[in-house]
Symmetry: D2
Subunit: 345 residues, 4 copies
């Protein structure tokens, strides 16, 4: 009988072949007895039966909260959905020193690339310009650059300075931008130590040429970008809405961009799929994307790589290093966040 | 009477207010007597009369070649169009140690940004995705990412490693790309010392996921990217045509992208404006732009800044440092290049 | 009566004026009632009396373990000595979600600079060369460079990849070194994600031209660099002993450098001060320093800056961001470490 | 009979095996018929006989100026000593479009490393500290750091912003220094475009914590750092004299450091070897080196690599890219420089 530690693998909304490269899956099997390890959802009775022996559980959702008290050997829950499941009893996990780990950092680079790409597309009018070429209305050379601008040397704002912002920073570095940050969850000293300037939300909105909305949605920031706040944005600015529509008064945003008050690049919407007749679909100065920043196929195996790296640490009694560890101070807020995130970003 | 050196300012196709920020124009006037200094073309007789006293000539085109022998005090010709004028007698300039300086480097950063933006737009399907949102055919999340890819870790090719390539390099740095270069005008040792890998054209075309065409057009590289060469490109690759259509067999390119052989991002065309019925306007997997990479308005004053910085050097008897100096070895080729470039890139 | 939270400030072996810049001390007083706040040690009775109301305790040592059960409002212990105190009951802290924070990261940059400086001094023979100039035995130009080498392009090893190593990495970046790492507390996947190559200790020792010993001492790594291991080092290599003498068989090291087997740069010793007659003081191919890498005066106020930044986070119910947070997995090992560190690195 | 171009190789004060790696020498032989190619000096008659057929001449010194008119096929002179030979008729070379190329850039990296190493050694008192350890007078920990300082965040001055300064810049980057530059041969606009701040000499001397003297010596800068100028230096500053003693009033410098006015790190001296009784040998706050910054053996083959890369360009009719090309504006000054440089930096 195997003496290897036991690891439950029940990815739920993800598929194993999607998030694990072959080599990483082999590594996992070499270091542990993998229980279940199938794409269909693990039945409750089997899960509860396996829980007592499990050292780690890799899961898409946390469907069976009643398993936690049974899982007396558990050292880590590694979620592969992209956010901390609200169904986990975090207090019990802290008390029992069980790590709760999220694969959210795996999405940083690809979302950052999309944020940069959409911002350049808006500033340089790449989408509008292509459309004009196709309808024969294009303007050439200088005539086609009446309202374009470059990122070089611009003042850029980041609303939220978490994983997405940290992945975006290096992409902006070569443009020599000054970066202003509004993040009420981070201290000013920390932000300054990272080479960005902490500012209030009003100053950020009224100052920046490009504004990236990167905040994790929470109970505290719903519609934080109200109509009044959105009206602070400069007419020549681009608002890039990347993290969640939750933080914006989307009706106000729609009104303002339809009125041509500023430009925008929008990847997330209050309802997805967006109704076919939503007026923002006709806004001429907006780059629209159907929540596609964080689901590039080739990038999904980064999840599996991070999971296996951290399972290895957990089995060796070491702190995990690649996934995001749930922090005691933010437990209550994670619940609020996760409740807003049924999907897979 | 002024004892300041005399500098002719005759920007021809450019306007003074477009290429000079006020502060730079004031610097120029402080260091020299500016002759002409108007947007309309300087008449021949006045030009010939002013030439003998001129220490430097800032010009859009070199309209009056007969002025060169008269300009016995001349130390530099600073062109503000973007390419070395074919009408200059370079041999005489070398013999008399007259610097011929081009403002081409002023265009590097903005063209590089557009190249990056168009490449990301192609790889992440930003243009196609926006269009789908507007027609209600969009696919959400993973379903919308069936054929997208990111730049991270990709092998990228650069055809031509001049000023544009050097401006693009830092923008690609944070993506961790391996960079292959084909440039027959540069030694392999130099390329390796720059951290890129020199390769043959065939290897570059058949290997790279993103191919940037950045070569200065010359008598040697017309239609270098023939049909046969273009057919080497991988089906999942993006060809970003940034420098000049001159280097491509554009009919072949049109056929291939219409047949869906690979993706492309195209800013330059064999005839501009492009005929309204040119079939490439309908290619579905191509990002099209009306030669707009190098004429962002706010970036044009970089020309004036470079010009005044180098006029200062020339007047102080120092080597110029910011503009591109015509090289003796390339004189004949410059002629060929400039003859192909009536416009203002 | 003040409603501000109460923070005990009892820096013990540190002085307040040494570790706090005026501005940081003012920030601390603005956000909390500071209890004690004096350089002399807080008496036990006063400490125990203040503990129940304290939200945070800033301390040099943890002298009164009996205070922990009394401190029912405590959210964080912030130590300013440089290592996790062994006297803290970490299990209770985890259970009660009390953060234990170390100022160790404040020492990273200055120690990294010293490590780089000592490595260059060894490779370029700066110390030996200066000594020769003073005794008139110097050799000039090429004759003085018979055995010198540069860092450019060399393979460099790091034993331990914690805070010191992460501070050293950027300083080595411009030299284009390949970095090998041996760190049994870190996963290979994590190390590769950081751009370094995980290797075994023997491979590191026998391969690298410069070897930086940066490991935190622990119960597991005492004399890990045994005589047998040290004998693997290349004759042309430099061993830079930066973190602790604890990890080296110092007698073997002394024998080997006295025999000229390799070069070394040594900042830490098994007994400090080192006996006046210790033979390593006469080794000709060694750069010696009296444990001076981590106590530059101007750098000490970084401790106070980090402490106040994190007190601010703690008082606002946010995760601390600048100091090092004790990890549940490493608690037992911290004890071992701290027991070896009576001093102030 | 060979139809390959002919290249004279007469390295004079250098040896072929010292400056050419085997692979580079093989490359050279593959592309050209190598004439002479020996370490001993090529006799005049043979040199004059070979000159008419030579396409390129690789030489340590330019011993036979009378060869220039005979060398009617000559395209380039590539010097391997480290400075532009004063015996070359530069005017004739410009007129005939013969490139004169210097290997000086090959010395940039190793000199920059030594400059950084000596500056850290001075700021962190590495040399003094080692000496104290050997005589039993060392002070431990904080007591040994009373007057030390780090480079992080300091204002650093560069006198001269040529190849050495450009090689030093990236090494200083991770320290976050503000860089002030005094260089009368460069325009302020150019310096600003490089991210450094142009200032006057007095401001630089009185402001900077570390001052690197990196200027190429010329007829214009002899003893530019006069006693009066040196007295502007801050008492807590380090003067790193790296390029040439020529630019300093060395007697004044000696007096000032003997008086403890500031610290210094000195690699170059007015007479080399320095007299055994020169008082600077006893200065306690100075790091002394016997002109060893630019002659590390392993780095010498960079000369050969650059030479062969540029011979390849020359033979292909392309501009050379790796060596430093003599500039028409500076010809007269090169003479002055070279006359001061009998040695091999």
């Amino acid at each position: 009988m195997s003496t290897k530690p036991k690891v439950i693998l029940d990815p739920a909304q993800r598929r194993i072949g999607e998030i694990f490269a072959d080599a990483d899956l082999r590594r996992l099997h070499a270091m542990a007895d993998v229980i279940w390890g199938r794409d269909d959802v693990m039945p409750e009775d089997q899960f509860l039966a396996a829980a007592p022996d499990a050292t780690a559980i890799i899961c898409g959702r946390w469907r069976y909260p009643q398993a936690l008290p049974l899982a007396t050997n558990l050292k880590a829950i590694l979620e592969v959905g992209g956010g901390f499941p609200p169904t986990i009893d975090y207090e019990e996990c802290y008390r029992r020193k069980i790590r709760v780990l999220s694969c959210a950092p795996a999405f940083g680079p690809q979302v950052a690339e999309m944020a940069l790409g959409m911002a350049i597309a808006a500033g340089r009018e790449i989408v509008v310009g292509d459309s004009a070429m196709r309808s024969g209305r294009e303007k050439w050379l200088h005539a086609g650059n009446e309202t374009t601008f470059t990122l070089y040397g611009k003042t850029v704002g980041m609303i939220g300075y978490g994983g997405l912002a940290r992945a975006l920073r290096p992409l902006l570095e070569p443009f020599g931008c000054r970066v202003l940050v509004y993040d009420p969850w981070l201290g000013q000293g920390y932000l300054r130590s990272q080479g960005v300037q902490p500012v209030g939300l009003d100053e950020l909105l009224s100052t920046c040429r490009v504004i990236f909305v990167l905040a994790v949605p929470s109970s505290e920031n719903r519609a934080m970008l109200s109509r009044e706040k959105l009206e602070l944005i400069r007419p020549d600015a681009v608002l890039a809405l990347i993290s969640r529509a939750h933080v914006v008064d989307f009706d106000a945003l729609t009104d303002l961009v339809l009125a041509g008050r500023f430009r925008a690049a929008i990847d997330v919407f209050p309802v997805e799929p967006l109704p076919a007749d939503h007026p923002i679909r006709t806004a001429p100065n907006v780059v629209l994307s159907a929540h596609r920043a964080g689901s590039v196929r080739e990038a999904m195996t980064l999840i599996g790589e991070m999971v296996v790296d951290d399972v290895e640490c957990v089995l060796r009694g070491l702190p995990p290093q690649r996934m995001l560890s749930a922090q005691p101070e933010l437990a209550g807020r994670y619940v609020a966040i996760s409740a807003r995130r049924p999907d897979s970003r």
